[in-house]
Protein backbone atom coordinates (compact mmCIF):
# COMPACT_ATOMS: atom_id res chain seq x y z
CA UNK A 1 0.00 0.00 0.00
CA UNK A 2 2.82 2.34 0.88
CA UNK A 3 4.18 1.83 -2.61
CA UNK A 4 1.25 3.95 -3.78
CA UNK A 5 2.95 6.89 -2.16
CA UNK A 6 6.23 6.39 -3.95
CA UNK A 7 5.38 9.05 -6.58
CA UNK A 8 4.66 11.52 -3.78
CA UNK A 9 8.03 10.78 -2.25
CA UNK A 10 9.66 11.17 -5.65
CA UNK A 11 7.94 14.50 -6.10
CA UNK A 12 9.33 15.68 -2.78
CA UNK A 13 12.80 14.51 -3.69
CA UNK A 14 12.63 16.24 -7.07
CA UNK A 15 11.23 19.45 -5.59
CA UNK A 16 13.79 19.69 -2.82
CA UNK A 17 16.56 18.61 -5.15
CA UNK A 18 15.65 21.27 -7.67
CA UNK A 19 15.59 24.02 -5.07
CA UNK A 20 18.82 22.89 -3.48
CA UNK A 21 20.52 22.49 -6.81
CA UNK A 22 19.52 25.85 -8.23
CA UNK A 23 20.32 27.75 -5.04
CA UNK A 24 23.58 25.88 -4.57
CA UNK A 25 24.77 26.27 -8.12
CA UNK A 26 23.97 29.98 -8.23
CA UNK A 27 25.68 30.50 -4.89
CA UNK A 28 28.78 28.72 -6.12
CA UNK A 29 28.96 29.97 -9.65
CA UNK A 30 27.16 33.32 -9.73
CA UNK A 31 29.30 36.48 -9.55
CA UNK A 32 28.48 38.87 -6.69
CA UNK A 33 29.14 42.52 -7.38
CA UNK A 34 26.69 44.46 -5.19
CA UNK A 35 26.23 48.22 -5.48
CA UNK A 36 23.73 50.52 -3.71
CA UNK A 37 21.16 50.59 -6.50
CA UNK A 38 21.16 46.80 -6.74
CA UNK A 39 20.56 46.51 -3.03
CA UNK A 40 17.74 49.05 -2.92
CA UNK A 41 14.10 48.04 -2.94
CA UNK A 42 13.18 47.57 -6.56
CA UNK A 43 9.60 47.96 -7.79
CA UNK A 44 8.30 46.15 -4.82
CA UNK A 45 7.64 48.88 -2.33
CA UNK A 46 9.33 51.67 -0.52
CA UNK A 47 11.92 51.62 2.15
CA UNK A 48 10.03 51.37 5.43
CA UNK A 49 9.85 54.76 7.05
CA UNK A 50 9.32 53.71 10.61
CA UNK A 51 9.91 50.76 12.80
CA UNK A 52 7.17 48.25 11.92
CA UNK A 53 7.62 45.95 14.85
CA UNK A 54 4.63 47.08 16.87
CA UNK A 55 1.98 46.84 14.16
CA UNK A 56 -0.72 44.30 14.62
CA UNK A 57 -3.07 42.56 12.30
CA UNK A 58 -6.76 43.13 12.71
CA UNK A 59 -8.30 40.70 15.14
CA UNK A 60 -10.77 39.83 12.37
CA UNK A 61 -8.15 37.56 10.90
CA UNK A 62 -8.40 35.54 14.07
CA UNK A 63 -12.14 35.05 13.64
CA UNK A 64 -11.66 34.06 10.02
CA UNK A 65 -8.92 31.63 10.96
CA UNK A 66 -11.05 30.12 13.74
CA UNK A 67 -13.96 29.71 11.39
CA UNK A 68 -11.71 28.11 8.80
CA UNK A 69 -10.39 25.70 11.39
CA UNK A 70 -13.83 24.75 12.64
CA UNK A 71 -15.28 24.10 9.23
CA UNK A 72 -12.11 22.27 8.30
CA UNK A 73 -12.81 19.85 11.12
CA UNK A 74 -16.39 19.58 9.97
CA UNK A 75 -15.19 18.55 6.52
CA UNK A 76 -13.09 15.84 8.08
CA UNK A 77 -16.27 14.23 9.39
CA UNK A 78 -18.23 14.74 6.21
CA UNK A 79 -15.75 12.65 4.17
CA UNK A 80 -16.31 9.32 5.92
CA UNK A 81 -20.04 9.96 5.93
CA UNK A 82 -20.11 10.74 2.23
CA UNK A 83 -18.30 7.53 1.40
CA UNK A 84 -20.52 5.33 3.53
CA UNK A 85 -23.77 7.16 3.04
CA UNK A 86 -25.19 4.42 0.83
CA UNK A 87 -24.82 1.93 3.66
CA UNK A 88 -25.80 4.32 6.41
CA UNK A 89 -29.08 5.30 4.81
CA UNK A 90 -31.45 7.64 6.55
CA UNK A 91 -29.94 6.97 9.94
CA UNK A 92 -26.61 8.40 8.89
CA UNK A 93 -28.36 11.23 7.14
CA UNK A 94 -30.24 12.15 10.31
CA UNK A 95 -27.09 12.10 12.43
CA UNK A 96 -25.21 14.17 9.90
CA UNK A 97 -28.11 16.62 9.69
CA UNK A 98 -27.95 17.09 13.46
CA UNK A 99 -24.22 17.63 13.34
CA UNK A 100 -24.39 20.07 10.47
CA UNK A 101 -27.45 21.75 11.96
CA UNK A 102 -25.62 22.69 15.13
CA UNK A 103 -22.65 23.91 13.11
CA UNK A 104 -25.07 25.79 10.87
CA UNK A 105 -26.33 27.63 13.94
CA UNK A 106 -22.73 28.52 14.74
CA UNK A 107 -22.27 29.78 11.20
CA UNK A 108 -25.47 31.84 11.23
CA UNK A 109 -24.41 33.24 14.57
CA UNK A 110 -21.02 34.35 13.39
CA UNK A 111 -22.47 35.96 10.25
CA UNK A 112 -25.27 37.57 12.24
CA UNK A 113 -22.89 39.01 14.80
CA UNK A 114 -20.84 40.58 12.06
CA UNK A 115 -17.87 38.33 12.51
CA UNK A 116 -17.22 38.34 8.80
CA UNK A 117 -18.11 41.90 7.84
CA UNK A 118 -14.93 43.76 7.29
CA UNK A 119 -15.87 47.26 8.35
Amino acid sequence: MLADYLPVLLLFVVAFGFVAASLGVSALVGPRRPNPSKLSAYECGNEPLAQVKGTRFSVKFYLVAMMFLIFDIETVFVYPWAITTADLGWFGFGQMALFLGLLGVAFVYEIGRGGLTWD
Binding site: Y62, F77, L88, G92
Partner: protein, 201 residues
Protein backbone atom coordinates in the same frame (compact mmCIF):
# COMPACT_ATOMS: atom_id res chain seq x y z
CA UNK B 1 15.77 -3.55 9.13
CA UNK B 2 13.25 -3.18 6.41
CA UNK B 3 12.93 -0.24 4.08
CA UNK B 4 9.92 0.78 6.16
CA UNK B 5 12.17 1.07 9.20
CA UNK B 6 14.61 3.26 7.31
CA UNK B 7 11.88 5.60 6.13
CA UNK B 8 10.46 5.70 9.64
CA UNK B 9 13.82 6.61 11.14
CA UNK B 10 14.26 9.38 8.58
CA UNK B 11 10.81 10.78 9.29
CA UNK B 12 11.32 10.47 13.04
CA UNK B 13 14.64 12.31 12.93
CA UNK B 14 13.16 15.15 10.86
CA UNK B 15 10.07 15.38 13.09
CA UNK B 16 11.99 15.25 16.32
CA UNK B 17 14.57 17.74 15.11
CA UNK B 18 11.87 20.15 13.98
CA UNK B 19 10.11 19.75 17.33
CA UNK B 20 13.29 20.66 19.18
CA UNK B 21 13.81 23.62 16.86
CA UNK B 22 10.24 24.76 17.53
CA UNK B 23 10.92 25.26 21.20
CA UNK B 24 14.50 26.47 20.94
CA UNK B 25 14.20 28.83 17.98
CA UNK B 26 14.55 32.44 19.03
CA UNK B 27 12.47 33.77 16.19
CA UNK B 28 8.77 33.22 16.75
CA UNK B 29 7.91 32.96 13.08
CA UNK B 30 10.61 30.38 12.57
CA UNK B 31 9.24 28.51 15.55
CA UNK B 32 5.80 28.46 13.96
CA UNK B 33 7.25 27.22 10.68
CA UNK B 34 9.19 24.51 12.45
CA UNK B 35 5.95 23.55 14.13
CA UNK B 36 4.55 23.13 10.63
CA UNK B 37 7.40 20.76 9.76
CA UNK B 38 6.79 18.82 12.97
CA UNK B 39 3.10 18.44 12.17
CA UNK B 40 3.91 17.37 8.62
CA UNK B 41 6.31 14.79 10.01
CA UNK B 42 3.58 13.43 12.25
CA UNK B 43 1.38 13.22 9.18
CA UNK B 44 4.08 11.20 7.43
CA UNK B 45 4.23 8.92 10.47
CA UNK B 46 0.49 8.30 10.18
CA UNK B 47 1.06 7.46 6.55
CA UNK B 48 3.71 4.94 7.50
CA UNK B 49 1.22 3.38 9.87
CA UNK B 50 -1.11 2.98 6.89
CA UNK B 51 -3.63 5.47 8.23
CA UNK B 52 -4.08 7.46 5.04
CA UNK B 53 -7.17 9.30 6.13
CA UNK B 54 -5.70 10.37 9.44
CA UNK B 55 -2.61 11.53 7.58
CA UNK B 56 -4.79 13.61 5.30
CA UNK B 57 -6.62 15.06 8.28
CA UNK B 58 -3.29 15.87 9.87
CA UNK B 59 -2.20 17.79 6.80
CA UNK B 60 -5.52 19.55 6.21
CA UNK B 61 -6.33 20.50 9.79
CA UNK B 62 -3.00 20.85 11.53
CA UNK B 63 -0.72 21.90 8.74
CA UNK B 64 -3.36 23.87 6.90
CA UNK B 65 -5.30 25.49 9.70
CA UNK B 66 -3.50 25.31 13.03
CA UNK B 67 -0.20 26.63 11.69
CA UNK B 68 -2.04 29.47 9.98
CA UNK B 69 -3.85 30.20 13.24
CA UNK B 70 -0.49 30.32 14.99
CA UNK B 71 0.91 32.76 12.47
CA UNK B 72 -2.18 34.94 12.71
CA UNK B 73 -1.89 34.79 16.47
CA UNK B 74 1.67 36.07 16.25
CA UNK B 75 0.64 38.94 14.05
CA UNK B 76 -2.41 39.83 16.13
CA UNK B 77 -0.46 40.33 19.27
CA UNK B 78 2.40 42.64 19.77
CA UNK B 79 4.59 39.62 20.03
CA UNK B 80 8.12 40.36 18.96
CA UNK B 81 8.26 38.89 15.51
CA UNK B 82 11.92 39.64 15.02
CA UNK B 83 14.87 38.16 16.74
CA UNK B 84 14.10 39.25 20.26
CA UNK B 85 14.83 36.79 22.92
CA UNK B 86 11.76 35.44 24.62
CA UNK B 87 13.57 33.60 27.32
CA UNK B 88 12.64 33.92 30.88
CA UNK B 89 14.85 32.85 33.71
CA UNK B 90 12.84 29.66 33.85
CA UNK B 91 14.62 28.29 30.80
CA UNK B 92 17.10 26.01 32.62
CA UNK B 93 14.34 24.83 34.92
CA UNK B 94 12.04 24.10 31.98
CA UNK B 95 14.81 22.19 30.23
CA UNK B 96 15.48 20.07 33.29
CA UNK B 97 11.78 19.34 33.84
CA UNK B 98 11.02 18.46 30.25
CA UNK B 99 14.18 16.38 29.86
CA UNK B 100 13.36 14.52 33.05
CA UNK B 101 9.76 13.96 31.99
CA UNK B 102 10.86 12.75 28.57
CA UNK B 103 13.45 10.44 30.06
CA UNK B 104 11.10 8.97 32.63
CA UNK B 105 8.33 8.40 30.11
CA UNK B 106 10.66 6.82 27.56
CA UNK B 107 12.24 4.52 30.11
CA UNK B 108 8.91 3.60 31.66
CA UNK B 109 7.16 2.94 28.39
CA UNK B 110 10.04 0.98 26.89
CA UNK B 111 10.37 -1.08 30.04
CA UNK B 112 6.63 -1.38 30.39
CA UNK B 113 6.44 -3.20 27.10
CA UNK B 114 9.29 -5.34 28.34
CA UNK B 115 8.44 -8.92 27.54
CA UNK B 116 5.06 -7.98 26.11
CA UNK B 117 6.45 -7.47 22.65
CA UNK B 118 3.66 -6.90 20.25
CA UNK B 119 4.01 -9.12 17.21
CA UNK B 120 5.40 -7.21 14.29
CA UNK B 121 2.64 -7.20 11.74
CA UNK B 122 2.26 -5.38 8.53
CA UNK B 123 0.19 -2.28 9.13
CA UNK B 124 -3.45 -2.99 8.53
CA UNK B 125 -4.98 -0.54 6.17
CA UNK B 126 -8.26 0.86 7.38
CA UNK B 127 -10.27 2.47 4.66
CA UNK B 128 -12.26 5.65 4.99
CA UNK B 129 -15.39 3.55 4.62
CA UNK B 130 -14.43 1.49 7.69
CA UNK B 131 -13.89 4.71 9.54
CA UNK B 132 -17.26 6.04 8.46
CA UNK B 133 -19.00 2.88 9.62
CA UNK B 134 -17.22 3.10 12.96
CA UNK B 135 -18.13 6.75 13.45
CA UNK B 136 -21.77 6.18 12.65
CA UNK B 137 -22.22 3.03 14.66
CA UNK B 138 -20.09 2.78 17.79
CA UNK B 139 -19.04 6.38 18.03
CA UNK B 140 -22.16 8.17 16.87
CA UNK B 141 -22.77 9.90 20.18
CA UNK B 142 -19.31 11.41 20.66
CA UNK B 143 -19.59 12.47 17.02
CA UNK B 144 -22.64 14.56 17.90
CA UNK B 145 -20.92 16.00 20.94
CA UNK B 146 -18.07 17.14 18.70
CA UNK B 147 -20.48 19.53 16.99
CA UNK B 148 -21.27 20.96 20.41
CA UNK B 149 -17.58 21.45 21.06
CA UNK B 150 -17.13 23.25 17.76
CA UNK B 151 -20.15 25.42 18.55
CA UNK B 152 -18.64 26.36 21.91
CA UNK B 153 -15.32 27.16 20.23
CA UNK B 154 -16.88 29.43 17.64
CA UNK B 155 -19.16 31.24 20.08
CA UNK B 156 -16.21 31.67 22.39
CA UNK B 157 -14.11 33.06 19.55
CA UNK B 158 -16.81 35.63 18.81
CA UNK B 159 -16.92 36.66 22.46
CA UNK B 160 -13.17 37.06 22.66
CA UNK B 161 -12.50 38.69 19.32
CA UNK B 162 -15.48 40.91 18.78
CA UNK B 163 -14.93 44.32 20.24
CA UNK B 164 -17.96 46.20 21.42
CA UNK B 165 -18.52 49.69 22.59
CA UNK B 166 -18.39 50.06 26.32
CA UNK B 167 -16.03 47.18 26.84
CA UNK B 168 -14.75 47.39 30.30
CA UNK B 169 -13.63 45.23 33.09
CA UNK B 170 -12.58 46.89 36.29
CA UNK B 171 -13.60 50.40 35.48
CA UNK B 172 -17.35 50.39 35.83
CA UNK B 173 -19.89 53.09 36.11
CA UNK B 174 -21.43 53.09 39.53
CA UNK B 175 -24.95 53.20 38.20
CA UNK B 176 -25.89 52.22 34.70
CA UNK B 177 -27.06 55.55 33.40
CA UNK B 178 -29.45 54.70 30.64
CA UNK B 179 -30.94 51.58 32.10
CA UNK B 180 -33.46 50.79 29.38
CA UNK B 181 -31.15 51.55 26.50
CA UNK B 182 -28.26 49.89 28.22
CA UNK B 183 -30.26 46.76 28.66
CA UNK B 184 -30.91 46.12 25.04
CA UNK B 185 -28.40 44.04 23.26
CA UNK B 186 -29.07 45.56 19.86
CA UNK B 187 -27.94 48.99 20.84
CA UNK B 188 -24.61 47.58 21.82
CA UNK B 189 -24.42 45.57 18.66
CA UNK B 190 -25.11 48.43 16.35
CA UNK B 191 -22.30 50.48 17.77
CA UNK B 192 -19.44 50.80 15.32
CA UNK B 193 -17.34 47.73 15.60
CA UNK B 194 -13.81 48.70 16.20
CA UNK B 195 -12.24 45.44 15.42
CA UNK B 196 -8.57 45.71 14.97
CA UNK B 197 -8.05 49.39 15.40
CA UNK B 198 -5.06 48.25 17.31
CA UNK B 199 -4.64 50.64 20.16
CA UNK B 200 -6.01 50.66 23.64
CA UNK B 201 -8.89 52.94 24.17
Amino acid sequence: MTSLDIVFILVAVVTGGAAVMTVTSRNLVHAALFLGVTLAGIGATFLLLAADFVAMVQVVVYLGAITVLFLFGLMLTRAPIGRETLDSRNRPMAMVVSAALFGILVVLIVRAFGSNQFPATEPISSSVADLGMAIFSTWVFPFEVVSMMLLAALVGAVLLARRQSGDSGTETRVTPIREALDDSTEELDRAPAELGSGGER
